[in-house]
């Protein structure tokens, strides 16, 4: 590398605090995969933004040496919407868990998807509230015994893929924290997708939900069944929805992808059209004078 060439962005530069996660937590692998994809994409370090709400996985921004924001429970997507819409120069990443995304922040997930806000959202789904020490989460399997369901969970869990597809997310994928190569491939495709891209990543909570994803982990004797895109048309919403029927262990890969205008682009078009009608960027004083003339 010559002295003048920009320094290559490496995992070393991207690493910040050592994660506070428990030893064996699936989230470590998610972080490592994220670093590897960023090493490949080589975005300028100052243009990377990581945003999270509350939860174990939502500590993510502290572990990435990029601009970051650790927000309140459930509202990370809403805040990221403001960042994404007002700063098209940035690469916006949101990280969070199942409680943050499907429970307290469920409404924002719906509307971010519908509006096709340009950002990438990784849901580290462990089927349990871990930070608050083992309460039932919106994705906990029926019968799961927790401190809030001592005799086993009785509420039907959210089906993340169905929820995301029906909400109108334009890139919906599913991965598994035990499968680094698969995660990297999913994250890279999600990042390169223009619009709202989500990767639900099963990430085991070894303390409160140990063994929960063994069925889909070949190292634990399970089967990791990936989607064959020769057979599955990712643009076919009905096929994607049908495939999502099998919630667990289910398939892994890209369920659905749709190219459609982002809200970012549509808002920018409105700005451009408004300014074009005014003959280009107008002086705010002139705009105000003109408006007040009508009130005289």
């Amino acid at each position: 590398m010559s002295a003048n060439a920009p320094e290559k962005l490496t995992k070393k530069q991207l690493s910040a605090d050592h994660p506070t996660w428990c030893p064996g937590c699936g989230d470590f692998a998610v972080l490592a995969s994220f670093f590897k994809v960023l090493e490949k994409l080589q975005y300028p370090q100052e243009k990377i933004v990581t945003i999270a709400g509350i939860g174990c996985s939502s500590r993510f921004p502290y572990f990435v040496n990029s601009h970051g924001l650790h927000f309140i429970h459930g509202r990370a997507l809403a805040l990221a919407t403001g960042v994404s819409l007002s700063r098209p120069d940035l690469h916006v990443f949101v990280f969070g868990g199942d409680g943050d995304g499907f429970s307290i922040g469920g409404n924002h997930l719906e509307h971010c998807a519908r509006k096709n806000i340009n950002l990438t959202y990784v849901i580290m789904d462990n089927y349990v509230y871990g930070l608050t020490k083992k309460q039932t989460s919106p994705t906990s399997k029926l019968g799961y015994k927790s401190k809030t369901d001592p005799t086993g969970a009785i509420d039907q869990p959210v089906n993340p893929m169905k929820k995301l597809i029906s909400a109108g997310a334009s890139f919906v994928a599913r991965s598994h924290a035990s499968q680094v190569k698969h995660m990297m491939a999913m994250y890279e495709r999600a990042i390169l997708h223009p619009g709202f891209s989500v990767v639900e990543t099963l990430s085991e909570c070894v303390v409160f939900n140990g063994g929960s994803f063994d069925d889909s982990n070949p190292r634990k004797g399970g089967v990791f069944e990936t989607i064959d895109e020769e057979q599955h048309d990712v643009t076919d919403q009905h096929a994607a929805f049908a495939m999502a029927e099998d919630q667990y262990p289910g398939k892994f890969g890209v369920f659905y992808q749709q190219e459609r205008p982002t809200k970012n682009a549509l808002e920018q078009k409105w700005i451009d059209d408004s300014q074009a009608r005014l003959g280009g960027e107008a002086d705010p004083k002139d705009l105000l004078r003109k408006r007040f003339a009508v009130m005289k």
């Binding site: 243009k47 819409l85 700063r87």
Partner: protein, 608 residues
């Protein structure tokens, strides 16, 4: 009721015994239009207000609207004056009643000797009531006849506007100019029908008895660059002048008009307004803009402000700048959504969890809605803090006339995110200096990138649960508002600097309090008035001002609570521990009447 051709077209009081009544040269006229919300009575009021603005007159309007989707009783009151107009008027001089319910509910608003104009197609008045004069005419059927066809009740408002123009000898040409500008952009037939209805009202033969009785004096106010608008509009353009380019909100009465205008206006300024899925998303997205380096606004009414509170505590901890508009309305919960109250003061100052100090301002009239918005932007930027602006329902919709702002002096350019490189010793939260964030996009030359957090943190923004650090940072967040307190001017005292009574108010009660003070002073009472625009932090020298008076009486539109004082009175008592501070409160959903304030002062001072 129909009128036979040979009948006189005007019914009402018998004037046969009156010889020619003298021409009344009016200083002031208070006219109340009472109808249903779909009759366009707001349009009459709006035109009259604009005409006043162009005729060097002062004006203040007052309206009530039903909280129904369509229909329901509604009033629009216009107070026109040739001198200073400070309130919408306690009693009305003229009532225009469109329906029987309008007549039944609003006749008592007329002063003795007042005139009730009513639509004979719908209203049967009690003509034996000798307190008032009655003028009856078939407003609805004449309008239908004038426009020709089956337009039902449309155009009645323009008919009445023409009638009022004729009765008060207002400047018809100027008014027609304003009407043409308003409707000229629409289909040609719209303007034609509007003018047919207007002229039918203007030419209606109500008789010389009325035609020559009233003449509204020419105005005394000077300046040609006068604008006529309502509080929400003034506030909205104040935000734009203050440099706000991004916003997010959720619809709620009476805040929605602010977000509607921002949604359309911001793209022209290169910005945008997001209609969020809920109040939580609105404040969160606005904080996203703030984090990204833009000055942003969110807003709502009381219920929505409650929903934003958690995020506002976050903003306090993270020290992100934000302007928050709260157009207050009546009562807790859905309450009285289209009525006025000032009961969100405590919520605005203390509504969040933890110690989360922030700034609270309140505009005192329509013009001040503009300037307070500009000031909110300045303070939010300078102190990297949250500023809540407390407007209210009455202020949001009432129309006043004021001088066009001096744009060169007022407008703040939006500089956008500060993306310059940050040195390796960069600290966003220095213990000995101002908060300065490094927004995303800024290179950190030291190689370490910041995480903005709601966890307690050190000077670098790094999470810290150190007890000493939490104390130091709590002090820091408090002390920056104390620095702001140093620069807040002491509010001016109207009247003498010392005396018997100092009337104190905040927000939209300015006009009625000032008018009541003037009235009491005319009666020889030693009463002065102060309106507080900066509510948190309070101006620092209030104690010395209060010491000059025997009574400090705080009037506000909220409840006296369990301990007998309104919300501002409670705060002032808490701060000054001064037993001279007393309270006048009310929560009937209506603005203060002058006589209510006068009675409250008498009660507290013991002289009737």
């Amino acid at each position: 009721m129909t009128i036979a051709a040979d009948e006189p077209p005007v019914q009402g009081s018998d004037h046969s015994e009156l010889s020619t009544p003298p021409l009344q040269d009016l200083q002031n006229a208070v006219i109340r239009f009472a109808g249903n919300s779909q009759d366009g009575i707001q349009t009459i009021g709006g035109f009259l207000a604009r005409l006043a603005g162009r005729s060097a007159r002062e004006v203040m309007t007052y309206m009530t609207i039903p909280s129904t989707i369509s229909g329901g009783p509604s009033i629009f009151q216009v107070h026109l004056g040739s001198g200073e107009v400070l309130s919408a008027g306690d009693d009305t001089d003229f009532l225009v009643a469109f329906y029987q319910h309008s007549y039944d509910n609003h006749l008592s608003s007329l002063r003795d000797g007042g005139i009730c104009i009513y639509d004979t197609d719908f209203v049967e008045p009690d003509l034996s009531d000798k307190r008032y004069e009655f003028i009856g005419l078939p407003i609805t059927s004449t309008t239908i006849e004038a426009i020709g066809g089956s337009t039902k009740s449309r155009g009645k408002n323009m008919f009445v506007l023409g009638l009022v123009t004729s009765i008060f000898q207002l400047d018809r040409d100027k008014l027609v100019g304003i009407i043409e500008r308003q409707f000229g952009k629409k289909d040609e037939s719209v303007l034609r029908n509007v003018m047919l209805a207007f002229d039918a009202g203007y030419a209606y033969p109500i008789g010389d008895v009325y035609k020559n009785r009233f003449s509204l004096k020419a105005g005394t106010s000077t300046g040609s660059d006068r604008v006529t608008t309502d509080g929400n509009t003034a506030l909205t353009y104040g935000l734009l002048a203050g440099g706000v380019r991004f916003g997010a909100g959720y619809p709620i009465t009476p805040w929605s008009p602010v977000m509607e205008v921002l949604r359309s206006e911001l793209p022209k300024y290169g910005g945008l307004f997001l209609q969020a899925e809920d109040e939580l998303a609105a404040v969160s997205a606005a904080l996203g803009y703030a984090y990204a380096g833009h000055l942003a606004v969110t807003g709502s009414s009381g219920p929505g402000l409650s929903l934003k509170m958690e995020a506002l505590s976050y903003a306090s901890m993270a020290e992100l700048p934000l302007v928050v508009i709260n157009v207050q309305r009546g009562g807790p919960s859905t309450g009285l959504p289209t009525s006025v109250e000032q009961s969100d003061l405590m919520q605005a100052i203390y509504g969040s969890h933890g110690d989360a100090p922030r700034v609270v301002l309140a505009p005192q009239d329509v013009e001040d809605c503009f300037y307070i918005a500009v000031e909110a932007c300045r303070i939010a930027r300078k102190y990297s803090t949250q500023v809540i602006v407390l407007s209210d329902q009455a202020l949001s919709s009432r129309i006043e006339v004021f001088d066009e702002p001096d744009w060169d002096a007022v407008v703040v350019e939006d500089e956008g995110p500060a993306l310059e490189d940050r040195p390796d010793d960069f600290k966003p939260y220095p213990l000995d200096g101002d908060t300065r964030h490094a927004p995303p996009g800024a290179k950190m030359l030291g190689g370490k990138y910041p995480v903005v957090t709601g966890l307690e943190h050190d000077e670098w923004g790094h999470p810290s649960a150190n007890p000493e650090m939490h104390q130091k940072m709590t002090n820091r967040r408090r002390d920056k508002l104390k620095r702001l307190m140093e620069e807040i001017p002491t509010p001016e005292v109207f009247g003498d600097a010392k005396g018997d009574v100092l009337l104190v108010g905040w927000g939209s009660t300015y006009g009625p309090l000032r008018e009541a003070t003037g009235l009491l002073r005319d009666q020889g009472k030693q009463v002065s008035h102060m309106q507080i625009r900066h509510l948190h932090p309070l101006p620092k020298d209030l104690g010395e001002v209060f010491d000059q008076f025997d009574h400090v009486i705080v009037a506000e539109m909220n409840d006296e609570g369990l301990y007998g004082q309104g919300q501002l009175a409670t705060l002032l008592r808490g701060r000054y521990a001064n037993p001279k501070i007393k309270s006048i409160t009310k929560t009937d959903g209506l603005t203060f009447k002058i006589r209510e304030i006068v009675a409250g002062v008498s009660e507290h001072t013991g002289n009737a």
